[in-house]
């Protein structure tokens, strides 16, 4: 992994070879090690390292971008000339923005040397724990473990320079009963290796598998539903992805105002909802800058149920007279007290969902999404889990979910499906209704 000085030296070499009016540079690299397991045995493993350099050369309002991974001088020169050639051939971009001046980036403690030093061979220890617990319980385990140590740099010909190191550790397990009628899943991620509790992950997955075996079908419909934090993270991430100011201003977003403009400042959700991002959060540290190099900072997205911000790029920000806002560095929903179990205990009748899968947009006007439940769905009766229920397809909007909030637990760091980094801290929530539209016999 390149140190700050080594990365700076590469960038300085690129800058010195550039012939463009302006040049913006992104440099990243590091090591990833991974080990998969399935059917209570290892399957594939791997370890790789490889940097990536992105050069955007501009002549006036013409820009061309090139990405390469070879850093000898000839390769760098070739990449530069190619980006300059693309820029010279490109038409003028009326939305071109000059390179950023020097920025002050927040200090983010997202790197742990101990995690970076946790080599590929040590992943077998976690996997051994998972397989051992699965075998003792008489179930079949599949899963994935990974560690990463990475750096990223942002720089340009106006003197901008930022260097950021991050580390990551991830473990997930799916346990399935021997008769394939039950399946349970658990996952964890952190930038600190010591946060990975392999016995707990395995125990949770195994228990869910056993509890979910021989699930009963229930009629599709609208139910009081407890969504575990992994579900909440998936749904909120979908909503936030579509919280762009330009789309809203242009009339093609749920967040568009009927009379033009957007709905910033409107109370759209339950007043207990406070969702923000903070790159320097000690539990879920994020990148100090956004995709266009704009510094990240602590920022409210929804507070007191009011839409506080929409993300906006530099061009649209300038055109509409606001400050640019990158997409959030992480997602933090300030929860209350208690656990999923406490939410179950206070539920008369309803459904508990472990995770959501294959979430896709259906109608962007209402932010309607569809997906399927997965790896543990349970019927709650009088504050207790009564029995497992079969998986259900749902068609629901996170807007409805945020409007139908009934109760929430404390927030916790969560690694929802499809994420292998620790960038979300959210509660489990109970909603007054969640719309399930058909049954699935999938286990």
């Amino acid at each position: 992994m390149h140190t700050r000085e080594q990365a700076k030296a590469i960038i300085d070499r690129v800058l010195s070879l550039s012939k463009a009016d302006e040049i913006s540079i992104r440099l990243s690299g590091g090591t990833t090690s991974h080990l998969r397991f399935a059917r209570n045995a290892t399957s594939t493993s791997g370890s790789y390292q490889g940097p990536s350099l992105n050069i955007a050369s501009s002549f006036g309002k013409r820009t061309g971008s090139v990405k390469v991974n070879q850093f000898d001088t000839d390769s760098l020169k070739r990449a530069l000339r190619r980006s300059e050639e693309l820029a010279s051939l490109a038409p003028e971009d009326p939305e071109h923005m000059p390179a950023l001046n020097r920025q002050n980036y927040p200090a983010v403690a997202g790197f742990s040397q101990k995690t970076a030093d946790h080599g590929a061979e040590k992943l077998a220890d976690w996997v051994n724990t998972c397989i051992g617990q699965a075998e003792s319980a008489g179930v079949k385990a599949a899963g994935y473990s990974q560690t990463t140590a990475r750096y990223s740099c942002v720089a340009n010909s106006r003197g901008l320079f930022g260097y950021h190191q991050s580390s990551g550790a991830y473990l997930s397990e799916t346990a399935r009963t021997d008769d394939d009628t039950g399946s349970g899943w658990a996952a964890t991620a952190s930038h600190r290796i010591e946060d990975i509790d392999a016995p707990l992950i395995s125990r949770t997955a195994v228990n869910k598998a056993k509890l979910s075996a021989k699930a009963r079908p229930i009629e599709p419909g609208k139910y009081v539903t407890i969504l575990e934090p992994a579900c909440v993270a998936n749904l909120i991430a979908m909503a936030v992805w579509f919280m762009g100011k330009r789309a809203a201003d242009e009339g093609r977003s749920y967040f568009s105002a009927a009379a033009g403009g957007n709905r910033i400042g409107e109370k759209l959700f339950d007043e207990r909802i406070h969702i923000y991002s903070d790159p320097a959060d000690p539990n879920v540290p994020g990148s100090p800058w956004g995709s266009d190099g704009v510094p990240q900072t602590r920022r409210d997205w929804i507070k007191g149920g009011v839409l506080e911000n929409l993300h906006v790029d530099r061009y649209w920000a300038k055109k509409t007279g606001v400050e640019p806002i990158p997409q959030p560095a992480n997602l933090i929903w300030k929860g209350r007290r208690g656990s999923v179990d406490d939410l179950v205990a206070s539920t008369e009748r309803g459904i508990l969902v472990t995770s959501l899968w294959y979430i896709r947009p259906v109608d962007r006007r209402t932010l309607l999404f569809t997906g399927i439940t997965r790896d543990g769905v349970f019927w709650i009766e009088n504050g207790k889990i009564a029995h497992p229920v079969q998986n259900l397809r749902w068609n629901e909007s996170p807007i409805n979910v945020l409007g139908n909030l009934d109760a929430m637990s404390a927030s916790q760091r969560v690694a929802p499906r499809n994420w292998r980094t620790a960038t979300a801290m959210l509660p489990a929530i109970r909603v007054k209704e969640f719309h399930f539209t058909s049954r699935s016999e999938a286990v």
């Binding site: 399935a38 290892t42 820009t63 394939d180 109608d363 932010l367 569809t370 016999e441 999938a442």
Partner: protein, 529 residues
């Protein structure tokens, strides 16, 4: 050009070649046989570098080793309305060494393609295999394959990386301009992406294979905003990614499609919202390919059926006990797997196990008869050889079982799309790729589309909106009662078929004709929020 004329002329390019491949008959541009030791590689150093890895792995105790040295060139151009939003050009080079030691896989990779680094990485792969072997239950067993010394390239007519940038930009901006001429259209964004994947594979079994694969992905999206109604509607292009060069961009009827797309997007504002219920669905191939991908392509992956993907992509309802007996579809439903059809996305000469590609039956007269397999999987279902479906997206990724092109064979009786519609009393015609979601065992799915047309009394009577259909895979395919004949054949596909941990993308095509499915559950997706 009206809608039906577009159907006739716009989507059928290459249909004859498609049929040649999907019926398993090798055409003149099919995969050549192995050509022996006289093959000339683009760079003789590739073989030397590969031998360093194979020797180092053997010396470290590997019983098998292979190396892929690859470089990946990509170019993508994004535009919206009158501006070019981004031009990206990328090159990514490196190598990965895969070994079996103590009966266990090990893999390591690096971007430094130099002899000392290759030897180090090969040793690292063997060390990882040894470390993980303590958790291995049964040794990896590879099905035998012929060794090959060969060169194979995607046959393209025009290399997209040689096409001047201004020509590409002009094409995209002219698409946007044409869309904006349609009254009521507010926005149009368009892009084109090109991939060249060059890889050199060598194994300790004597194979040295060099391949250059090309893929392209041009597309647009038109948006119509109606502030009075507080509504916006979109319609995407009916173009699909292809395993072709720039000739696909040259021949696709962009202006016809974008004019129609603009009209469709505007018409959606006032289209009738669908009445939920059971309908006979006439699925156009520009839509049906994705339903095939999700409901037939994924459940026939053997690694899913065996539980190897249980933690991520999921398992499969097509468990191995169903092989050869399970009625997956009606008797007219036949699927063929292949990686040999010229123009399709998964096509290559040899897979990433070094196995020569081929075509094989997967569903015959509605019965599920075979899976997608790799060398390490074939013996698990009692097969002597692999179907050649191993693929890694990049030098740093481990090769594993990935979907080949899977095609629905045309019907035996002459039947056009117009004829199929004429024979449908109460139905919906669906065109284009829309929303899609399916469960982790591939039973329950929901699909939307780009454009929906009400069919009543054998005629198209108007446009519908807010349409999605939900079904259970075997019920759906058993309800298939008509498939159009070969004249209607079309190949669609995806650049981003995802599977594996770490996640890898695979590009894959699916050929099919329009088909009808009886009494499928249609829901209305409109919500008031």
């Amino acid at each position: 050009m009206d809608r039906r004329a577009f159907l006739k002329t716009g989507l059928h390019a290459g249909s004859i070649a498609a049929l040649t491949a999907c019926t398993g008959r090798a055409g003149p541009s099919s995969v050549p046989p192995s050509t022996g030791q006289s093959v000339e590689f683009s760079d003789p150093r590739l073989r030397e570098l590969a031998d360093v890895a194979l020797g180092a792995a053997r010396d470290a105790g590997a019983s098998y080793a292979d190396i892929r040295i690859s470089d990946h060139r990509r170019q993508t151009i994004f535009t919206r309305e009158k501006r070019v939003a981004n031009i990206e050009d990328s090159e990514d080079r490196g190598f990965g060494v895969r070994v079996i030691a103590n009966g266990t896989w090990g893999f390591a990779a690096s971007s430094r393609v130099e002899k000392d680094e290759i030897a180090r990485v090969a040793g690292r792969a063997v060390a990882l295999a040894r470390a993980n072997s303590k958790l291995q239950k049964a040794p990896i067993k590879l099905a035998p394959t012929r060794s090959h010394v060969a060169v194979w390239n995607t046959p393209i007519e025009r290399d997209p990386f040689d096409v001047p940038l201004d020509q590409k930009v002009d094409t995209l901006l002219s698409i946007n301009a044409e869309a904006l001429k349609v009254s009521g259209v507010s926005f149009c964004q368009s892009s084109m992406g090109f991939v060249r994947e060059h890889k050199f594979f060598a194994s300790t079994e004597g194979s040295y294979i060099e391949q250059t694969l090309h893929r392209c992905h041009p597309r647009f999206q038109v948006t119509a905003v109606d502030r009075k109604r507080g509504s916006f509607q979109t319609r995407n292009s009916y173009s699909d990614p292809q395993g072709m060069g720039y000739e696909y961009v040259d021949t696709y009827p962009w202006l016809d499609d974008v004019r129609q797309a603009g009209q469709d997007a505007v018409a959606k504002h006032t289209a009738k919202s669908v009445e939920p219920g059971k309908y006979d669905l006439v699925l156009h191939p520009s839509h049906l390919w994705l339903t095939i991908h999700e409901s037939i392509g994924h459940p026939t992956e053997l690694d899913r059926a065996l539980g190897m993907e249980a933690n991520y992509a999921g398992t499969s309802f097509l468990t191995t006990d169903k092989l050869g007996t399970f009625q997956l579809g009606s008797e007219i439903v036949n699927f063929v797997g292949e990686k040999t059809h010229i123009g399709s996305l998964a096509t290559c000469g040899y897979d990433d196990d070094g196995v020569e590609t081929r075509a094989w039956d997967m569903v015959k007269n509605g019965i599920f008869v075979d899976y997608q397999t790799t060398r390490e999987q074939a013996h698990l279902i009692g097969r002597a050889e692999s179907h050649g479906t191993s693929y890694a997206q990049n030098w740093k990724d481990v090769a594993f079982q990935r979907m080949p092109n899977i095609n629905l064979l045309p019907g035996n009786q002459p039947l056009s799309l117009d004829g199929l519609i004429a024979g449908t009393d109460r139905g919906i015609l669906i065109k284009g790729r829309g929303s899609y979601s399916i469960d982790h065992q591939r039973y329950n799915f929901q699909f939307g589309g780009q454009a929906f047309y009400e069919v009543s009394g054998g005629k198209i009577t108007g446009m519908l909106r807010d349409v999605a259909y939900q079904a259970r895979t075997p019920d759906f395919w058993r309800s298939c009662d008509a498939i159009c004949s070969r004249e209607e054949y079309y190949v669609g596909g995806s650049f981003y078929d995802g599977k594996g941990e770490p996640g890898q993308a695979n590009a894959v095509s699916h050929g099919c004709c329009p088909a009808r499915f009886r009494r499928v559950n249609v829901i209305n997706t409109k919500r008031s929020i």
